[in-house]
Amino acid sequence: MNSEIDRNKLHGQAGLTRQSLFDQGYLDEQFVQLEELQDDTNPNFVEEVVTLFYRDSARLLANIEQALERSPLDFAKLDDYMLQFKGCCSSIGAKKVKNECTQFQEYCRAGSSDGCTRTFQQLKREHSTLKNKLEAYFQLA
């Protein structure tokens, strides 16, 4: 497999898959930044980072989940957790997940328990969806 990702060179399914991820808003420009960092010295850089992301984010999400089980909700803390998580998401270009993070933070500031809980569920879904899509993509690329 090519160590350097050249969008123009990714043929067939890999290229299409990749493009659709962008087109459908799953990924944003930051993902391209990662791709550009991939080179011969780090031929699987993108995949490694994504793997690291999913491993690390599982922990962050668990913390948030736990915090959401408290009553009453500590919105400041939740907001803080989410800021951290959002930083990770944005770093890999996980656009939809990041948007859910922003939404969640807004609910925190508004003090809406319901909003937070609902958004969190959505966030987890997006997070999981992206994971599957990326895994499929890496199989091809």
């Binding site: 800021l83 930083g87 990770c88």
Partner: protein
């Protein structure tokens, strides 16, 4: 590889080490890349990146390496701090996340400012204005919003160069100050063509060289800068605590510390910074005036006001890792540095019998002013300007370390933060107090400025306090003002709060002694 600094830096370095000859200065980094400055610069820039998030850290590390920087990554602030402490001259710049579990990024920023005087860039996914402002007031030379793009990292080297340059300027100004009229002219020369760094620096150097001999004889112009190491700072804090913050005057502190080669001026400037720091950490509640006053020095009547910073606080602060002093120093340095451009800025030269009875405080902001009076400000003063570490008489090379420990940045922060609010920083900038020297000192204290001002009788708005600093900063930026009149004249000209002029660095983040030293050394290695 060494980060090649500009010719100016090289020259400066040479000067510092005693070389009198003016290098053939036509070479300036940008003009003659092949000459003195390595074509590879900024490759090899030594970056310490701190982030508890492994993903971000991995990506940043990779990005920085792609920029050909020499990267050290760290996921804990405490570890980063020890790395920096163990390797004082081992890094050129620090990039740190704001949110970290073991230590707040701003705190780390302060520490670095106080102890190492390195440029620090903060990062966060949080782009809210108040947090960014906090970065500024704490002395960060830049604030990056995550996700960080490689483009943003490519240019971080500018902060390193800028800092050094500012340092150089300050030093030169100090040198100029020493020479009175001559210097004035030089300053004018210097300022007259701010853009032409190479040329004016050269001319400055020439001028200085001419006076070099006499300066050496008469003053400590070329004295190495004092580097307030952790140990030195601890001694300082111990001495201050022993005396009691209210009674801690430079002379006594100096005596207690009993460090050969350390001058009262050094102590005075450091004390000023320390006071600012204490004020800052103790919060607004601390009577700012008290702290500030202390900074200002005995002159300031309100001086004794340091309420919370009594011995206990000081000790606590001291225990905290000497940050306060250093941070303060940083601020001072920063403030001073900026304003200090004026030759006379160095700590109120005791000899001068100056205005600063207090010695340091005044000089912080009013240093320039005082300096002017003193004229013989020597290099010592310069240090102040830069950042904090009081210039150290050259006789004690041990004291002076290449890297000024005082991070101006943090100092700057401190000032700004005295109140713990961003406003302070702006205040700092604005504070320049052209008025009486004594007042200037008071004013320089920073946030507390408002207090001090009143105590000082400053007619100007509270922001004036930092006037000196600000003025200085402005002056620096404007470069047009004669050094001596920096603060005063410029204040008027300044539009208002002026953040570190001329640079994106933190307010008053002039301390570049470290950088300078770094480059000096690197040059030596070349």
């Amino acid at each position: 590889m060494c980060g090649i600094c500009s010719l100016d830096e090289m020259n400066f370095g040479r000067r510092v080490v005693g070389s009198m000859s003016l290098p053939d200065s036509s070479v300036v980094a940008r003009n003659d890349p092949g000459d003195v400055v390595s074509d590879h610069f900024p490759a090899g820039l030594r970056v310490l990146v701190v982030d508890d998030d492994p993903i971000c850290l991995t990506i940043l590390d990779k990005m920085l390496r792609t920029c050909h920087y020499d990267v050290t990554k760290c996921n804990r602030a405490e570890v980063a701090l020890s790395l920096l402490r163990e390797n004082k001259n081992g890094y050129d710049i620090v990039i740190s996340d704001v949110h970290m579990p073991d230590m707040d990024g701003f705190k780390l920023l302060e520490h670095i400012g106080l102890e190492m005087d390195l440029p620090v860039i903060m990062m966060s996914a949080d782009d809210s204005k108040n947090v960014v402002m906090k970065g500024v007031t704490h002395g960060a030379c830049d604030y990056l919003i995550k996700p960080v793009r490689i483009e943003a990292l490519k240019n971080v080297w500018q902060h390193v160069v800028r800092k050094k340059k500012n340092e150089w300027k300050e030093l030169e100004q100090l040198g100029n100050m020493e020479d009175g009229d001559r210097q004035q002219k030089q300053d004018d020369l210097e300022y007259s063509s701010p853009a032409n760094e190479g040329s004016w620096k050269n001319s400055k150097r020439k001028g200085e060289d001419e006076e070099g001999e006499e300066r050496d004889d008469a003053t400590t112009l070329k004295k190495p800068r004092v580097v307030w190491s952790v140990e030195l700072h601890q001694q300082f804090v111990a001495a201050v605590n022993q005396l009691g913050i209210d009674k801690a005057v430079p002379k006594k502190i100096l005596e207690l510390m009993n460090v050969p080669g350390l001058t009262r001026e050094n102590v005075a400037s450091h004390l000023q910074k320390y006071r600012l720091y204490l004020r800052r950490v103790s919060g607004v509640s601390q009577h700012q005036g008290g702290l500030n006053n202390s900074f200002i020095g005995p002159q300031d009547a309100s001086f004794g006001a340091l309420p919370s910073l009594s011995g206990i606080d000081l000790q606590t602060l001291a225990a905290a890792g000497q940050l306060p002093a250093q941070t303060l120093a940083t601020y001072q340095a920063a403030g001073l540095g900026r304003a200090a451009m004026k030759p006379g800025i160095t700590l109120p030269f005791v000899d001068q019998g100056t205005l600063f009875s207090f010695e340091a405080p005044k000089s912080v902001f009013g240093e320039g002013r005082q300096q002017q009076q003193q004229r013989n400000s020597n290099v010592k003063h310069m240090n102040l300007l830069h950042g904090i570490p009081a210039t150290l008489e050259p006789k004690q090379p041990s004291i002076m370390q290449q890297s000024s420990a005082q991070p101006l940045g943090s100092l700057n922060n401190m000032q700004g933060n005295t109140h713990g609010n961003g406003q302070s920083s702006s205040l700092l900038m604005q504070m320049v107090q052209p008025q009486t020297r004594g007042q200037m000192l008071n004013e320089s204290i920073g946030g507390q400025i408002s207090r001090i001002q009143s105590s000082v009788g400053q007619p100007s708005p509270r922001n004036r306090m930092a006037g000196n600093e600000q003025v200085m900063a402005c002056n620096l930026a404007s470069q047009a003002a004669p050094v001596v009149d920096f603060s005063v004249n410029h204040m008027a000209d300044l539009p208002g709060n002026v953040y570190p002029l001329g640079s994106t660095t933190t307010p008053g983040g002039v301390t570049t002694s470290h950088q300078k030293d770094l480059y000096t050394r690197r040059l030596a290695q070349m």
